[in-house]
């Protein structure tokens, strides 16, 4: 039993291997309740893997170490139970659901399932409810539209902790402003936000940042400090244990 931490989410010696390769390598991390965090790092660093592991997706359960949410180990609990405890995830590339209407998709996530609230969720990501609420969240939506509906479903779920994996990918400039506003609303609601990103502007939305490389956290601190690596490229990391080309091909 873990006691007395300031963090809502704490990772202790967290490791995950795929085919004898450490994708997450002994991570020790604290995320503070109600704050906005960013994780940055090169392609293949393990950022999405970390998000999936925290969410408890089925291929990411065979970990060593511990994950504590509100001082309670969530290692052995399923994804839906983690969600009901208040953890959720927005995918880097959201799933598409043939035939499922936006309305039903949002309703499934919503705490308050009123029509008005569903419409507000769409407005929060800059989509017109009249144009989208009856459309299916399938391949007839553009990538950016699908991504925004995914974020609307996060907004309406009112989670306690949300992992947003590259929330800006495929999003146009105007909509990005909306999404930043949405993140501010999440913060006002005391939601803990973890942003995974390659973008300086997204990083700047955060209060704390982590630099991840080859499955390790190689630096952490203020956004300004971590942003420095963006300008100068990653300097701390020598990419010694860079993934093999064949591992890349599997992606």
């Amino acid at each position: 039993m873990k006691v007395n931490t300031m963090g809502i989410l704490e990772l202790k010696n967290l490791s995950l291997e795929f085919e004898d390769k450490k994708i997450l390598n002994n991570l020790n991390l604290d995320f503070r309740e109600g704050h906005i965090h960013a994780i940055v790092g090169p392609n293949g660093a393990g950022k999405s893997t970390l998000a999936y592991t925290i969410m408890g997706l089925s291929d990411y359960r065979d970990i060593s170490g511990e994950i504590f949410f509100k001082d309670e180990s969530i290692h052995n609990i399923d994804i839906d139970e983690r969600a009901r405890k208040g953890i959720t995830l927005a995918w880097q590339e959201p799933a598409r659901f043939e035939g499922l209407s936006t309305k039903k998709f949002l309703k499934a996530a919503a705490k308050d399932k009123s029509e008005e609230n569903l419409r507000n969720a769409l407005l929060s990501v800059g989509l017109s409810p009249d144009n989208y609420i009856d459309r299916a969240v399938d391949k007839t939506l553009s990538g950016g539209e699908r991504k925004r509906i995914e974020l609307a479903s996060i907004y309406i779920m009112e989670p306690e902790l949300v992992l947003l994996d590259e929330p800006d990918s495929g999003i146009d400039v105007a909509a990005l402003e909306k999404i930043f506003e949405m993140i501010k609303v999440l913060k006002k609601r005391k939601t803990t936000v973890i942003l995974i990103t390659h973008s300086l502007t997204v990083l700047e939305q955060a209060e704390y940042a982590f630099l991840m490389c080859n499955g390790k956290i190689v630096d952490k601190g203020s956004v300004n400090k971590i942003a420095g690596y963006f300008r100068k490229k990653c300097v701390l990391c020598d990419h010694k244990n860079k993934p093999e080309p064949d591992v890349f091909e599997m992606e």
Binding site: M55, L57, S58, D78, I79, D80, R82, A83, R84, I87, T88, L89, W91, P94, A95, R96, F97, E98, G99, L100, S101, K104, A108, A109, A136, D138, E150, S153, M157
Partner: protein
């Protein structure tokens, strides 16, 4: 079980569809219980001749040249008794430059041992448009055997769209056999959505021949099988003319002890024709499932929602 002949509303009300369409003078309808016409209303340009047979009806439907019927035509077939056979023989002739949309509601709410046989011959004339949505409403017993058979001929630039839907109540047995032959620049879309459970048996055979230059066709099947249900889907699309374009798309989700097979056959006999096919058979997509679970739905609720979308 049923002592007197049901009025047309009695049968129609079991479809769950608003029966005010049967009172609208601008909407045509035909309601057939077993072998009796309970109600019929026509609009100008549309002719329906019905001959009542021992176990069903023989119907001839003609739409005059150049006539477009504004409102959908509602046809209701069905039987309220637990046992019996209803055989519908239909001859449909949609003349040149005309257009019609038919909603067929087929209802067998109390069936324990009922057979519904449909044998349709359909001709869609040049530049005419024929849309036929068939929706089945079955009870919980699974005591219906449905045999819909249709052969459809499309003239030049004709447009034929059909959707068969059986998602409420138990399937029982369904054995669909549709064939469409397409002349130049005609367009055909055949879709079936069926939800099987218990020991339901689902057989779908859809065949399309794209014989005319520039003709196009899509065969779509969406099936869910749960419990001990079984689905066998056979789709064949052939293209024998230049610029014919086709697509076969079959998705079957299985749960529990369900069994699903898909046999897509794509045959192209002209170098300027092109047909594609895709098939996905098996459990629900894990990313879809995990997305909904990450919003707090349990696995069963998530699967239910994914299937509901797929069949909608």
């Amino acid at each position: 079980m049923l002592k007197q002949k049901p009025d047309k509303f009695g049968l129609f009300d079991t479809t769950g569809f608003d029966h005010s369409v049967l009172e609208d003078p601008n909407s045509a309808h035909l309601v057939v219980h077993h072998n009796k016409v309970l109600g019929a209303h026509l609009v100008p340009g549309l002719h329906v001749d019905v001959e009542e047979m021992e176990d069903g009806i023989n119907a001839k439907l003609v739409l005059d040249e150049g006539i477009t019927i504004e409102n959908p035509v509602h046809i209701c077939f069905g039987m309220l008794p637990e046992k019996g056979i209803q055989k519908i023989v239909m001859d449909v002739d949609i003349k040149k430059d005309s257009g019609i949309m038919i909603y067929a509601h087929c209802t067998f709410p109390f069936a324990v041992d009922v057979q519904h046989i449909m044998d349709a011959k359909i001709h869609v004339g040049e530049n005419a448009k024929y849309t036929y949505f068939e929706r089945h409403i079955h009870g919980k017993q699974g005591g219906v055997k449905v045999y819909p058979k249709a052969i459809v001929h499309l003239d030049k630039r004709a447009n034929f769209k059909t959707e068969f839907e059986l998602i409420k109540g138990r399937v029982g047995l369904i054995d669909i056999d549709y064939e469409t032959i397409c002349r130049d620049e005609s367009v055909m879309e055949m879709t079936a959505r069926i939800n099987g459970s218990g020991d339901d048996i689902i057989k779908i055979k859809e065949v399309g021949s794209l014989e005319g230059e520039g003709s196009r066709g899509v065969l779509t099947s969406r099936v869910a099988v749960r419990g001990n249900a079984r689905a066998d889907v056979y789709n064949k699309l052939t293209a024998t003319a230049a610029y014919a374009r086709g697509h076969v798309d079959c998705k079957e989700i299985i749960q529990d002890n369900g069994i699903a097979t898909a046999i897509p056959i794509v045959e192209v006999r002209h170098p300027k024709a092109h047909i594609t096919h895709e098939a996905a058979i098996g459990s629900v997509d894990s990313k879809e499932l995990e997305t909904l679970m990450a919003r707090g739905l349990n696995e069963d609720e998530a699967v239910e929602l994914i299937i509901e979308g797929l069949l909608s």
